[in-house]
Subunit: 273 residues, 4 copies
């Protein structure tokens, strides 16, 4: 145990309160922070509603600056208390923390930048930590893992869909023409995406029998190929689930894991199990 | 067999008729009750249609009070005949039974409360019991089990979707602005949900090329990530199905499991089962 | 071999041509019949288009009666040539065959009945037989089997969805009211179904902030619970697939099938495999 | 090593540069080609936008002919350098390459043919080769394999859906009639597809209570049966995944299969693998 100055102890204490959630003050800090984030997000949302801005604009303006001051102090405290400030500043959370205060300052010079304050909502994912929902983060990593494993298949799928909508959209542009709303190829491609993904706004809709016939094909196509991403993620997830399932056994001799449920001998060292 | 007063016997008989469905009268009671529930739900629905209310308002008003009287008597009879009235009153069915009569009485003082009578429709789930569809309830519990097991993953997923729509909605608000219907951030978030879930009303639709481009991304995103909840529930359900199907039997001699349902001999050591 | 009259031989020959598809004439008959069915379905469709009816009404009227005469002759020939006419008449195909000629005759007395001629399109499923696509019918039976096995779960699911939309629709009726298109509870329930199933016509859309908030919840709900029927059918189909997969082994001693892939002994008679 | 003329060597070099991607020049050529394809697709899209055509029409017209010249030279070079020109010309890529230059020449005689230049976008799939994303093509073949294996089931499903929408569309035509937008049977079938696939434009929507009731049924049907194609593809994909993952290794001593990828010893008999 080395000698620590008062300054050092304060810094350590700050770090404990801000970055950890196991002590009473650490938990309290996190809960207060979360409430502040939620409130600040709500404030930005409310400010965008005309009627509310006209009535309570001043209050919201003040509230916004209080939140910005709070988050700025917090950001500086984080930078100060952490051992490797640069590592924190360039980490995912660090960038998000910075993005949640920057727009307010930029808005002093450029009007409209305030809307970007909504980026603060990304900070909401801290909620998982506060309520000690580590299990939730574990689940999230299973989801992320399944998505990563099926990344290549998903890119192939999205690429094929992209080429599909370009061709189908152009065909509709040729068939329907500008008078029915298909005024350009990009707009027709936009329509093809709206239809293929079964969103179907209805702001543009085919009017000619041929166009409606092709639209029917696109819809059934979209209805059918939604099975593909689902199939990809599901089979990947089922596989992941199996690996987790079989991870409970380990060889007493060599410590190898991932044994089959029916294994009588270790697959790695050959000793009986 | 202890001596029972006439009062006690009546109470027991009432309990048998109301709560059980094995005897003739128990079954009859349940069928009559179900018909009454269905009719009362239909009555409330019909009353909300202007043309019907103008014509048959009186009849429906009377019908409603007859149903309320009936359900009130039934509720009191249940409370009276059951051994632990408080346990029943606080049970799921008890609360639903109370909720199905309360609005009629409250409507005497506050107009409009009648619409809440529709809560009676929740009572329709009794249908599963009457037709002895216990098997159906078993299936329901498999569904519930699968949903519960994947709860954590679903919360993570919904949370991520929530943050996603907040950010995407705000971006559309900045890009499109009020003149194209994106009058506020909450409304733009509402639009983002409409689009991401592939509902696509079309009451608000992007008009600028940039907005339509971002909308295209949101649609493809929504089309793709629907695979995630499906993958979660499916893999969970497949796991459940396997466990139910296979893990119940094991060989007394060698302990091997995962026997076929029709097995008479162990597939591993050949000994009789 | 018993003596057969000329009449009997004609009847047998007719049966062979009409009901079987292995001989040259049997195949030819089926192909001609299919073309006739497709043409008659197209004729009924075209007749419903005003411009075409005005121009070619007479031709279509004649065509329709030619098809009806053809199908009537075919129906009588089937009844006559088959050994158990009543069994055919009450079979699935028999009823469909009758339904495809009846409307034309009924239309002589009741106008508008012609539209029911479209029921002829059901006869299109004969296509699978003609092209000897027995394999396709096998696949269809796998689909049917999977749907039947998951019937109970599907009923529970649809029942829950039904109760859900009744309650959500009523809530929207209370929140939005008639001025925003939610004029009655049945109409609001209709809207709730449109939203929950992610169809989203947009003919009725919530206008109040509270209504849009609830609509958001319904959409996310609908987006999420679509995973449930998918999960049911998928896990059922995967199970079916496995059973088919393991059906390739059979015991030489007792002939039992459906052995586990790893079985060393027959699960039924205990003999080594 | 046989003697080669200068002509032969040039031809071989050209083949290497155009068809292969391993050398520096081969890679450079592919990247340049890809950029040209992307730019030409964008040029065709932009030309269809009225405002852009009016302003930059001349530039786009020149750009288009430069791209066409480039692709024509490339096509001739491919035909010349390859050993079996006819085989290339009739291959998938060969046809696509031809289709990407033909429309420009046809447009000299028939106006509007230019739009077909968008077929060039199909050439984008070359992207997978350039970035050496052979792995991606492997994934694509897994997808293709899963789709091919489930082809029969998908045809049965699409056929059933087709018959379903014909009947449901006709029923809506009878119920709603022309005054509510259901002016003909083909249009009503179009509406039925829009509804069943949960696209829901809203350009046609039922107005009568009976029509809305039937629409509700169609929506729930469409919401439910989307599970069928998903189930088909998923179970097929899961099967494929399992076969790839597990069936490749077997013990030389006891023949046991389904070994883990990391196994050094058989889990059943303990002998080295």
């Amino acid at each position: 145990m080395k000698h620590e100055s008062r300054y050092e102890r304060l810094r350590e204490k700050t770090h404990e309160v801000i970055f950890e959630a196991d002590t009473f003050w650490g938990k309290t800090f996190d809960v207060v922070l979360l409430v502040a984030i939620v409130l600040s997000v709500i404030a930005v949302m409310l400010e965008s509603v005309l009627e509310i801005r006209l009535k309570y604009g001043n209050i919201l303006f003040i509230a916004e600056w209080i939140f910005t001051a709070l988050f700025t102090v917090e950001y500086i405290a984080r930078l100060w208390s952490v051992n490797k400030p640069w590592k924190y500043a360039t980490s995912f959370y660090g960038v998000i923390d910075l993005l949640s205060i920057l727009p307010a300052f930029i808005a002093l010079f450029i009007s409209g930048a305030q809307a970007f304050l909504i980026l603060r909502s990304i900070r909401l994912i801290r909620v998982f930590r506060v309520f000690k929902l580590v299990r939730f983060l574990g689940e999230a990593s299973v989801l992320k893992e399944a998505l990563r494993a099926s990344r290549a298949k998903i890119i192939v799928f999205v690429g094929s869909v992209f080429i599909m909508v370009v061709i189908l959209g152009t065909m509709m542009y040729i068939i329907e023409g500008g008078e029915n709303g298909f005024t350009s190829i990009p707009k027709s491609i936009y329509w093809a995406v709206v239809t293929l993904t079964t969103v179907g706004y209805g702001d543009i809709a085919p009017q000619t029998p041929l166009g409606q016939g092709l639209a029917t094909l696109i819809m059934i196509l979209g209805y059918g190929i939604i099975a593909v991403p689902t199939g990809i993620v599901t089979s990947e997830m089922a596989k992941k689930g199996n690996i987790i399932h079989s991870n409970t056994r380990s060889c007493q001799h060599c410590g190898a894991e991932e044994h089959s449920d029916k294994a009588s001998y270790c697959y790695k060292c050959g000793s009986e199990m």
